[in-house]
């Protein structure tokens, strides 16, 4: 029997109240690893890709990986997989915290949520006891209050995931918050839970998850931890400054999108970066389960209008999206806006990029002054905070549209080209004009513009494990495909992507996975599994109606040269990279996997 897995999945039908336990399929564990891969296989088999994301027929899978609950470094990751409410594409949001390993200790690898409850409910899992409980008292409250409420009603030490007001109000950019501050953020996965009248899960487990070979597991884990200790990134700078250390790194290269990507450099961007966060607001670091890195930031605003507010963050993505992307330099306002996103359960990247889009629409006169609740110019910290509030509460005409995400907002006002998104998902904090590989990755990522599906920044900027020139587009198809397949393996293992800065190659992940599961897959076979997972997700999207036309970027990033800074004059040459990428993937000119490719991967159309 395959080990590392808890052994069973829990299936909860909210329409009928039926609860089932199902054994883990060993063949799938070998072909799709677990986590993202295994969960996506279930979504692809069980959900009609053409269905409305918010229909009861859509399902949500909360999936852990086989390394979860072991001592493998940063192995507490969980994936939330569904058909995304914002994108209509397959969605899988990766999140940290402690719930995943706890779920495995309760005896389950995955929870499948299907149907729709008549009234708001949440799920209470205590080992073998499963209860669907009334959630009306907690429905629509702040995520932190929901978490505390669920703990009071269940067990003070239960691990909790929940949606806040944004999910309840079916904002298309709603996330699921784990441990109150960790977000399964992207693609509107919280929205789908909201549409099912499902508030969240509380879980407490007392069992032990057994590895196939405890001695070998210990050794492989020790080796991986040693690699992370040796890396100056994971031992020193990431823990000390958090992910926002990237602000200066990217800005100094002229790849930091400013004011809805109208520029890609700001001389004063550093005031929103990791060094300033460490100096001005940091209280302490916060690690997820089994993590030796601890990039999480516990913070408190110490001066100004928002003095005394506390929470976690901001991180690199949110200090950018809610910061320079909106022209805002005020770190206190950015931090408070980040806290609000966490409380409402809004995806911080999508929230910031949507606000930036609204600011440009407003400044260009496309949002009529009479519709705007207040002046919405770039640069105002208080404006930013007020915009997050009307977005979270869906207040007024503009607030209601902000909650729909940037694409629907910009389309409503007749200018979808001003939405900095791909497949309707807002782009993250790397300008593809200054780092060409990440542009190809945004365009071809199965969940829309996402950096962590194929983090080419590792090679294009961080030089981990080697350097590739960021401004050259030749060779980026190979790099993008490699990183996408590799990432699919890491995401499916249950380990955090950040471990890659120390572990660097597949070898370390392979050693841990083999020792934990007992499955004899080689490193090459694992990379092939990554490719299989990527193609599987692609097939879902094609069946959902997405085409080659959706593998693109906003026209601004393709045609408008960066006006200033170190990458002045650059555009993203996507048209030069995409055909090469399709060819490498074994897809035809329309971006459809060929019969031979599917056969090689063991997939069917």
């Amino acid at each position: 029997m395959v080990r590392g897995f808890a052994g069973e999945n829990l299936r909860v039908n909210l329409s009928t109240g039926e609860i089932k336990k199902e054994k883990i399929n060993e063949k799938w564990a070998r072909l799709f690893i677990g986590g993202r891969g295994y969960g996506s296989k279930m979504i692809c088999d069980e959900v009609d890709p053409t269905i409305d994301s918010l229909a009861p027929g859509n399902k949500v899978i909360i999936a852990t990986g086989p390394t979860g609950g072991s001592n493998a470094p940063a192995s507490g990751r969980t994936m939330v997989i569904t058909k995304g409410a914002e994108t209509g594409a397959i969605a899988c949001s990766n999140v940290g915290g402690f719930l995943g390993p706890e779920l495995k200790r309760a005896g389950y690898d995955m929870v499948i949520i299907e149907g729709k409850a008549e009234k708001p409910v949440y799920l209470w899992i205590k080992d073998g006891n499963i209860e669907v409980r009334d959630a009306r008292k907690l429905w629509g409250k702040k995520t932190i209050d929901v978490e505390q409420g669920m703990r009071q009603e269940t067990d003070p030490k239960a691990e909790v995931m929940n949606i806040g007001l944004a999910g309840v109000k079916l904002s298309r950019i709603a996330c699921v918050m784990f441990d109150a501050y960790r977000a399964a953020g992207r693609s509107g996965v919280g929205t789908v839970l909201g549409s099912k009248n499902f508030l969240g899960i509380a879980v407490k487990g007392t069992k032990k998850v057994e590895a196939f070979d405890p001695v070998e597991t210990k050794e492989a884990v020790a080796q991986a931890r040693e690699l992370l200790r040796k890396s100056k990134i994971t031992r020193k700078n990431l823990p000390k400054y958090g992910t926002a250390i990237m602000v200066n790194i990217i800005n100094e290269r002229g790849g930091y999108p400013v004011r809805n990507a109208q520029d890609a450099y700001d001389a004063d961007a550093g005031v929103t970066g990791g060094e300033e966060i460490a100096d001005k607001i940091l209280i302490k670091k916060w690690p997820c389960a089994a993590c030796p890195i601890a990039c999480g930031r516990v913070t408190e605003i110490r001066e100004g209008k928002y003095k005394g507010q506390y929470g976690q963050g901001p991180e690199y993505e949110t200090t950018w999206a809610l910061g320079l992307m909106c022209g805002v330099h005020d770190l206190n306002a950015i931090t408070y806006a980040h806290y609000l996103c966490d409380e409402y359960g809004l995806d911080g990247i999508s929230a910031g990029v949507t606000i930036a889009c609204a600011m440009e629409l407003y400044e260009k006169g496309f949002i009529p002054k009479k519709e705007a609740p207040f002046p919405m110019n770039f640069g105002g910290g208080d404006t930013l905070v007020k915009m997050v509030q009307i977005m979270g509460e869906r207040k007024g005409i503009v607030g209601n549209l902000l909650a729909e995400g940037s694409y629907r907002l910009a389309e409503h006002y007749g200018h979808p080209e001003l939405s900095m998104s791909s497949k309707r998902l807002e782009m993250p904090a790397y300008d593809p004009r200054a780092m060409k590989g990440i542009g190809l990755n945004y365009a071809t990522s199965n969940r829309g513009a996402c950096h962590v599906r194929g983090y080419t920044i590792s090679q294009e900027v961080i030089e981990s494990p080697y350097l590739v020139d960021r401004l050259i587009y030749v060779g980026k198809a190979e790099l993008t495909k490699y990183m996408q397949d590799f990432t699919a393996v890491i995401d499916s293992s249950g380990m955090c992507l950040f471990t890659v800065f120390g572990l660097e190659y597949i070898r370390a992940y392979g050693s841990i996975l083999r020792a934990v599961t007992g499955l004899p897959y080689s490193d090459d076979e694992l990379m092939k599994a990554g490719e299989r997972i990527y193609n599987l997700e692609r097939l879902f999207n094609l069946k959902a109606g997405l085409t080659k036309k959706d593998d693109t970027l906003p026209p601004r990033l393709l045609k408008e040269p960066i006006p200033s800074g170190p990458s002045k004059g650059e555009v993203c040459e996507l048209d030069r990279m995409l055909p090469q990428y399709y060819k490498l993937r074994g897809w035809d000119k329309e971006g459809v996997p060929t019969k031979e490719t599917l056969k090689e991967l063991g997939l069917k159309m």
Partner: protein, 106 residues
Amino acid sequence: MKVKVRFFATFRELFGAEKEVELKSGSTIRDLLNLLCDSRRRRREIFDRSGRLQPYVKILKNGRSIQSLEETRIELEGRHIQFSGGIHTELEDGDVVAIFPPVGGG
């Protein structure tokens, strides 16, 4: 000539955040680093014992990594791409040099 030097992350504690440095014309990145490393601690952080740049030190000249700027010049699809020479990269008046320890995330 004058060049602006910016330090980030842990290097800030050692060198400060930003400096303007006066150099002789024709100076290279190495000359600049020699000038900046005026104590044993600073030197040890930037150079190894045999005087080579520590492999983890990341240096940008006007936003381009000097490590990627090896001494080659190629023409790619009609476009000239110049790689100007690692640590021997020459500096010009008004250049901005950014110096980072290894960092990642985000």
